[in-house]
């Protein structure tokens, strides 16, 4: 009865333990499913939809769907990557993502995923939302221009740091984003610390340690060394 159960991901057998999601099992095996809001340390959020796969011919989020024996899962097909690219393009135009002068460039999961999926242009018209920069904290800068609403900072601050510094608020496409839960709405008026888990969880360039930008030279940044897909394999 201890026989390892498997499902197929793009024709490859992926072993899994009962209770694991498709994403968890694939990642543990070194197979890359594009994603942004999922993080191995936290419960799946299922909001970015980038990890959408086709299970037995039907679409589903691989981060929330439990792996089952015998599943046939399509992942890196032209059809799915095409849809993922469109999702990325929408994320790029909904925020203000100016990679050329962004200090997260080379270390940014959004940028690395766009390279992985060969996104060559934003395609859609830019929204240019008016989002603030919060520089009130002595050690940490918040640049909401780059927020993709993955909620990882909300989860990390609540579940690991026990501080509930961040929350998702606002309405509508342009209004909804991460907010700071102090009365003033400013990070400087909270007990947020650079050592908090939430300070290092942001996959893009919203939560940044101050006065350290561009310290790592081009060529030595995280995604200079290998594409994001190859890094999943390397970790295994």
């Amino acid at each position: 009865m201890n026989e390892t159960q498997t499902f197929q991901l793009d024709g490859e057998d992926i072993p899994f333990a009962p209770g694991q999601s498709i994403m968890q099992a694939a990642t543990a095996h070194g197979a890359y499913i594009p994603h942004l809001c999922w993080h191995p340390d936290f419960a799946a959020h299922g909001s970015c939809k980038l990890c959408t796969v086709k299970v037995n011919g039907r679409f589903g989020s691989s981060c929330t769907m439990a792996a089952q024996a015998g599943m046939s899962v399509e992942n890196r097909t032209a059809e799915l990557d095409d849809k993922r690219r469109t999702l990325l393009q929408m994320l790029f135009v909904e925020g203000n993502h100016f990679c050329p002068s962004c200090e997260k460039s080379g270390n940014c999961a959004l940028q690395a995923t766009a390279y992985e999926l060969k996104m060559m242009s934003p395609h859609f018209d830019m929204f240019y939302p008016d989002r603030p920069v919060d520089a009130s904290h002595p050690d940490v800068l918040l640049d909401f221009n780059r927020c993709i609403m993955c909620s990882l900072c909300v989860t990390a601050s609540a579940e690991v740091d026990g501080k509930n510094i961040f929350y998702m608020g606002g309405r509508g496409l342009l209004g909804r984003r991460v907010h700071v839960s102090s009365e003033s709405g400013r990070l400087g008026d909270t007990n947020f610390a650079l050592s908090d888990r939430a300070a290092s969880i942001c996959p893009v360039g919203v939560i940044l340690p101050k006065r350290r930008g561009f310290a790592v030279p081009i060529g030595e940044r995280k995604y200079d060394k290998a594409p994001i897909s190859a890094q999943v394999k390397e970790r295994v």
Partner: protein, 496 residues
């Protein structure tokens, strides 16, 4: 400097010829010429029609982002902006002395930039005019024509530029728009392999730079009277010099000399540049007109760049370039030092200086060191000045207690040269256009004068000499009397 031909007395009675855009320069500008019925020139203006807005949109950004963001002003000399901003923010951070490795890596990056930019300008942009003649066959007067007629010269130009860009890549991380210089230092030094790779070719670069000086000298010898007179005008000048008066393209004090050659200020601390430099505005141009405050906006215009630097410094701190400087100043009794086309000669002397400086730095073990950053006592503002390929470049920032930029002022090289370029084109218009039938070849003379300054109107160097050009002769009543258009295929067609 004089204001003759800046504004005609009765412009409504004159017809207008426009060179739009000016080609084989970096960026977008146009020249308008007002002529009367006898083709006598009454007004000539160089307009810069771009609006960039960098000073505004970096407000609110964190200061450490600035050196990377502002370099996007330009694709030709981003290193200059990258370094000027870094220097300004060094001052803001209270860093008075960089580590030896950081300063030498920045200098290496800067000399790489001078080398590639000067090579680009001389070989790709200016040489077609100089090799074929200002009014020569337009179909050949471009870099493709140079490749066909003088392949060895073109090849050296391409490889000189490539080498400079490799120096930039190894120090900044990328050939264009790197991140190597950060406030307080640099983020990388050279590896032993990178150093060896550059050392392999540097002596060839020094040799080719010497040949380039020989080439421009020969051109002067063959056309001395015409070259010396072309767009010539007396001018004040400003540049950085080292404490001993020698040329220093990376750091120093400001030296200014008037039209009469007398020193207006020397070794002036650029941290208070606004005490000596003002900025005037004119209703017909988006570009400001800087001036020496002591002389006022009308009399205080000046020029910057290679010609000013080579003639105003007391020496050049690399031997081959210094010898060339002496020969340049002695040539024909010093006549070329005041010639607008003397810019080309001076630029090639600087290219040699850059190549020699790279060679010296490559032999300095500090460039492979690991002490990259320095710290200091934080200040409210910072000013950074550097001698960019085209001249003195000033960056000035104020940063608040939250690390956000609250004010920025940039005075770029081409802005300093605004009035000087205007005067040069007026001189050429008087010399060549006055009373003559306008032809494409004659109009190119105007562009030759502008190109001598190597203006960076921003970044559009891919025209390959087949500049889109529209010339319209408009009668006093506003009707188009004659017009010609040259399109991207290099064809000229008359419009009835």
């Amino acid at each position: 400097m004089k204001l003759e031909l800046e504004t005609a007395a009765a412009p409504e009675t004159l017809r207008r010829v426009a060179i739009d855009p000016v080609s084989r320069v970096e960026g977008h500008g146009k020249v308008t010429i007002l002529l009367d019925d006898d083709n006598k020139v009454h007004q000539v203006r160089l307009h810069i029609v771009e609006f960039r807005g960098f000073e505004k949109f970096i407000q609110g950004r964190p200061y450490w982002e600035v050196p990377v963001m502002v370099q996007r002003l330009c694709g030709i000399c981003p290193v200059s902006h990258h370094l000027a901003a870094s220097k300004a923010l060094d001052m803001m951070l209270g860093v008075k002395q960089l580590t030896p490795t950081a300063e030498k890596i920045r200098r290496l990056m800067h000399y790489g930039q001078i080398l590639q930019s000067h090579a680009l300008h001389f070989f790709h942009l200016a040489s077609p005019d100089l090799l074929f003649g200002f009014g020569s066959d337009m179909a050949k007067r471009n870099i493709v024509g140079v490749v066909a007629a003088h392949p060895e010269i073109a090849k050296k130009g391409v490889l000189l530029r490539k080498f400079g860009q490799e120096v930039i890549r190894m120090t900044a991380g990328k050939r264009v728009h790197g991140t190597g210089s950060v406030p307080g230092g640099v983020n990388k030094s050279l590896s032993a392999e990178e150093r060896a790779e550059l050392l392999k070719d540097i002596y060839q670069m020094v040799a080719w730079s010497r040949e380039a000086i020989g080439m421009i000298r020969n051109l002067f010898e063959q056309n001395l009277a015409a070259y010396n007179a072309f767009g010539r005008f007396p001018s004040a000048g400003m540049c950085l010099v080292r404490a001993d008066g020698a040329m220093d393209l990376y750091h120093g004090g400001l030296r200014a000399r008037g039209i009469d050659g007398k020193t207006l200020f020397d070794h002036f601390d650029y941290g208070r540049y606004w005490d000596v430099i003002g900025e005037d505005v004119k209703p017909w141009s988006y570009m400001k007109f800087p001036f020496f405050k002591a002389l006022g906006p009308d009399e205080g215009a000046y020029r910057v760049g290679p010609l000013t630097r080579v003639t105003q410094c007391d020496s050049i701190p690399t031997p081959l370039a210094d010898k060339q400087r002496e020969e340049f100043i002695a040539f024909d009794g010093g006549s070329v030092t005041g010639a607008t086309l003397g810019y080309h000669w001076a630029r090639m002397i600087e290219m040699l200086h850059a190549a020699e400086s790279i060679k010296d730095l490559l032999h300095d073990d500090d460039i492979v060191g690991h002490e990259l950053m320095a710290t200091g006592e934080r200040q409210e503002r910072g000013v950074g000045v550097i001698e960019a390929p085209r001249g003195t470049l000033i960056h000035h920032y104020r940063v608040d207690e939250n690390d956000q930029v609250i004010r920025a002022n940039l005075i770029v090289s081409t802005t300093h040269n605004n009035q000087a370029m205007n005067i040069a084109v007026r001189e050429v218009a008087k010399q060549y256009l006055d009373g003559r039938e306008i032809t494409e070849g004659l109009l190119n003379h105007i562009e030759v004068a502008i190109r001598a300054f190597d203006p960076c109107l921003s970044c559009a160097t891919h025209a390959l000499g087949r500049m889109p050009l529209e010339v319209a002769i408009v009668g006093a009543d506003g009707t188009v009397l004659d017009a010609a258009t040259r399109d991207q295929r290099g064809l000229t067609r008359e419009i009835p």
